[in-house]
């Protein structure tokens, strides 16, 4: 594709553009990307291709069967009758955190111990970080490091990774650096707060993993609270 010379466009740039260039370059070179995870990328790519083929085949069958289904359901003398859609199961809001006599604490798991949050949604912790699989890609072990230097465990923080469809979201993330003992996690959603669960390794390592399953992918911020009800870490 032919485009104008960027250098020519630079001449007409506002004064702060140069400063922005330097700032962006400095921020970009502040990280050291890992090696390309080629095997994981290709595995995911193959899954995407398989799913797309399945979808295409399914759509093809649906196209072929739809006229038959229409005739069967409506019959030849079905003038004017309105077919109602199937009942929609409404998402039930998860109750929000309420004061309890003894505040919950994270479940302590051994390194490598598998925790099944939902079918296909499995998490486990090692000293290096968080590992998990999701229902769409159960063969793909995913990983977030807590030791690669890219999170600052000295400051409170919480992250989120998710795999979602319009009706279900499999949520998980790291939390770290807060004061006290993490107790509860809530994710804001259009249906109200979604309460999750916490996992930690033995020995109070200063970080842990939270997870939840939500009935919507319209999600907001995350708040982890400690056993006293104070904010341990939050992600707006």
């Amino acid at each position: 594709m032919n485009h104008p010379d960027p250098a020519a466009e630079r001449d007409a740039e506002p004064a702060e553009a140069g400063r922005l260039r330097e700032a962006l370059a400095a921020a970009a070179y502040d990280v050291t990307p890992s090696r390309v995870p080629l095997a994981a990328v290709e595995r995911r790519g193959r899954m995407i291709r398989r799913r797309r083929r399945t979808t295409v085949l399914g759509a093809g069958c649906a196209v072929l069967l739809a006229p038959l289904a229409f005739v069967t359901l409506h019959g030849p003398d079905d003038g004017g009758r309105v077919t109602r859609p199937a009942a929609v199961v409404s998402a039930s809001p998860t109750p929000s955190a309420s004061p309890t006599v003894s505040a919950p604490t994270p479940r302590i798991v051994d390194p490598g111990e598998r925790v099944t949050a939902a079918p296909g949604f499995v998490l486990w912790l090692t000293e290096e970080g968080k590992h998990w699989t999701t229902p769409d890609m159960p063969e793909l072990d995913q990983f977030r490091s807590v030791v690669d230097g890219n999170i600052d465990r000295g400051s409170p923080g919480v992250s989120m990774q998710s795999e979602s469809s319009p009706t279900r979201a499999y949520l998980s993330g790291l939390y770290y650096g807060g004061e006290g003992t993490a107790s509860v996690v809530e994710v804001a959603s259009k249906d109200g707060p979604v309460r999750g669960s916490l996992l930690e390794l033995p020995g109070n390592p200063g970080w842990g993993v939270w997870y939840a399953v939500a009935d919507t992918d319209d999600l907001g911020g995350i708040t982890v609270r400690d056993t006293e009800g104070r904010v341990y870490a939050t992600l707006p």
Binding site: E22, L24, A26, A27, A28, T32, D152, S155
Partner: protein, 183 residues
């Protein structure tokens, strides 16, 4: 019955070579788009996986454009659905080939630009990153975003205005360029 042709050759050896060569730069671009290193690597992995699934259909002479547009669209979808959100705090990654001189100032400066970029709309941020980091001309950005060059100009102007008035960007010292950073 619909079916896919066998034209796609995902095992094409060029994909590995392309991914290996493009990975670091894509992650850096994604970092500027997302503000979070882990989310950046996620975004690039997702993008490359989707590209791999269609590798045989990607025009060989236009791979960069295809991948860049896929990256940008995946990021826009991600932010629209709020599937992941941004950390509005500086991260302290491992560094290589960098002296400690001016370290605190540069960290502060990078935190400032991260915070300032987070205040922009996704499209404003995308335009500024493509224009001032990827060094793309406005016409190319318009093709990536599937909009007119005039819209790109508007996003760029408003984005720069927003940065100019942002306290973090206004107060930050000039950053010190790093080796490899383009002027």
């Amino acid at each position: 019955m619909p079916h896919e042709t066998s034209a796609a050759l995902p095992e094409h050896p060029d994909f590995a070579a392309y991914a290996g060569a493009a990975w670091a730069r894509l992650v850096r671009t994604a970092l500027l788009l997302t503000g979070d290193f882990h989310e950046a690597e996620d975004l690039v992995q997702t993008t490359l996986a989707k590209v791999y699934a269609r590798w045989g259909r990607v025009p060989p002479d236009d791979v960069d454009f295809y991948v860049r547009r896929s990256l940008v669209n995946n990021n826009i979808s991600r932010t629209r659905r709020r599937r992941v959100t941004h950390l509005l705090m500086p991260f302290l990654p491992e560094r290589v080939h960098q002296s400690d001189r001016g370290h605190a100032e540069s960290v502060e400066s990078r935190a400032a630009i991260t915070e300032a970029l987070a205040s922009l709309s996704t499209r404003q941020r995308t335009v500024l990153v493509l224009r001032y980091w990827e060094d793309l001309p406005e016409t190319a950005i318009a093709e990536v975003l599937n909009c007119s060059p005039g819209t790109v100009k508007t996003h760029a102007r408003r984005g720069l205005e927003a940065l100019r008035s942002h306290p973090a960007f206004a107060a930050a010292e000039r950053p010190h360029p790093l080796p490899g950073a383009r002027p």
